[in-house]
């Protein structure tokens, strides 16, 4: 192994990878959310479709997409490796759990939350690739822009799908609540002045962003049944 791969394969190195990929995915969530909000514009999904069309044909975004998939892959691989190492570090557990609530609840279950998110992501990406490459959706009438919005509106008519989506967003919120501030600590950025602000912004982010995502299917579902 070269010095570089060795540096990233120790436990601190793996955490560095988790931290950097995690922060990148945190940024990606905002970009994705902006796109999703266009579904609520009330124009039958035209804005959303145009945004998706722009993203699909923008070389910068395409490079970003590849970087993102590598990021997800590294985050998952190192996350699973760390979870395995951490679990094996205590083969015999304690008879009495430590009840003192000194650590945040979310920090204890980052691995299990991650696995739930991975399951959600697998279904989400299956849909994404299926419609992107294998069964392209129809274009909007009179344009060369594919009508992804209609597909989304149909998907969100299913209550099971909406509930599953909302639960996944709650889990992402838990994962972000610890992950956001933990990423900075792993990078070595712990400071008396800034750490409280990072923790506050992290918790706020962990509430607002998943809430934004979860609202969209709920609103579409309610609009659909009230029509």
């Amino acid at each position: 192994m070269s010095w570089f791969t060795k540096a990233l394969s120790g436990s601190v190195g793996k955490k560095l990878v988790m931290s950097l990929t995690g922060l990148f995915l945190i940024l990606f969530l905002i970009e994705h959310l902006i796109g999703n909000f266009m579904l609520l514009k009330g124009d039958g999904g035209v804005a959303f479709n145009e945004f998706a069309h722009f993203m699909k044909h923008n070389p910068v975004i395409l490079v970003g997409e590849i970087v993102m998939f590598i990021g997800i892959l590294l985050h998952v691989i190192d996350g699973l490796a760390l979870e395995r190492k951490n679990r094996s570090a205590r083969p015999i557990g304690y008879a009495t759990p430590n009840k003192s609530a000194v650590t945040s609840w979310t920090s204890k279950y980052m691995g299990p939350f991650g696995i739930i998110i991975l399951i959600f992501l697998a279904i989400h990406l299956y849909d994404f690739f299926r419609y992107k490459y294998f069964s392209p959706v129809d274009n909007m009438p009179g344009t060369d822009i594919s009508d992804l919005a209609s597909l989304v509106y149909i998907k969100f008519q299913s209550l099971v799908y909406v509930v599953f989506y909302v639960i996944a967003m709650i889990v992402i919120g838990f994962h972000l609540n610890h992950g956001f501030q933990s990423a900075f600590q792993t990078l070595g950025l712990n400071h008396a002045k800034y750490t409280p602000a990072i923790k506050f912004i992290g918790s706020l982010y962990a509430i607002l962003v998943p809430l934004g995502y979860a609202l969209i299917p709920v609103i579409i579902y309610i609009q659909n049944i009230s029509n």
Binding site: A89, I92, Y94, K108, Q185, T186, L187
Partner: protein, 250 residues
């Protein structure tokens, strides 16, 4: 005070071990926790039974030998003290107290509540030292050290290496211990010679011993009898990245 003790008994490393209940009576609330176990052990010896083995030495909170998980918490229910500084007045008459050894793959049980903490020694041997010249005593003020640096280094050096951080961490990670030892020397001019190789070697040894990685839950710092702060773990991470980028070790 009358108490029921639920104590982990294990003959040796190979033995599976299990909990055994002991009734103990007429305990003074002013006794220390270890004195309470001394009383139990005298009773066991009188009865011809094997006394409960536990680590202890100074009994004044500075040696880091005592190591028990009491009702799920390393060093018991009080903040910032070791087991030997815990008094029976922290419990109520009639309580059942569960006493377990540190639990970690890297710290195998030797007997009862005694665990093998030599992995910490090996981590220290890997890099927890400084190069100094032998000879006459150097002048006290020859090396200027800012007061705040000395304070930070002293905070890190307060670590007694008891292993409560490993015991409390959900991953049985030794990061708080290693971070205290690395910080203490990285903050002082005397530690500069081995600064880069130290952090690389100590972390490599930490991984080799089978400790888990850090999830930044903060349980270690909360249970640390010396209240070593998580800022040291952040410094350890910075030291590691900087060593990996700047050192000539390929």
């Amino acid at each position: 005070m009358n108490l029921t003790l639920k104590i982990w008994r294990q003959k040796n490393q190979q033995d599976k071990g299990g909990f055994k209940d002991y009734k103990i009576s007429d305990i003074s609330p002013d006794m220390s926790f270890l004195e309470m176990i001394d009383v139990l052990n005298e009773d066991l010896v009188k009865k011809g039974e094997d006394p409960v083995h536990f680590d202890h030495d100074c009994r004044e909170g500075i040696c880091g030998m005592c190591s028990m998980v009491i009702n799920g918490r390393p060093h018991g229910p009080k903040q910032a003290i070791t087991t030997c500084q815990l008094h029976m007045r922290s419990f109520s008459d009639g309580d059942t107290i569960t006493i377990e050894p540190w639990r970690a793959k890297a710290f195998p049980v030797i007997k009862d509540l005694v665990v093998d903490r030599t992995p910490f020694e090996r981590i220290m041997q890997a890099g927890g030292y400084v190069s100094i010249n032998t000879g006459g005593v150097p002048d006290a003020n020859a090396i200027p050290i800012p007061k705040n640096m000395a304070e930070d280094a002293m905070d890190a050096a307060a670590c007694i290496g008891c292993g409560a951080c490993v015991a409390s961490c959900k991953n049985a990670s030794a990061m708080l211990f290693v971070s205290a030892k690395v910080s203490q020397l990285a903050l002082l001019p005397q530690g500069m010679i081995e600064r880069k190789s130290r952090v690389e070697k100590m972390l490599m040894q930490m991984d080799a011993e089978g400790f888990g990685a850090c999830t930044n839950t903060g349980a270690c710092s909360a249970e640390c009898p010396k209240e070593i702060s998580l800022t040291h773990i952040a410094r350890l991470n910075r030291e590691y990245y900087s060593a990996k980028v700047y050192s000539e070790n390929v």
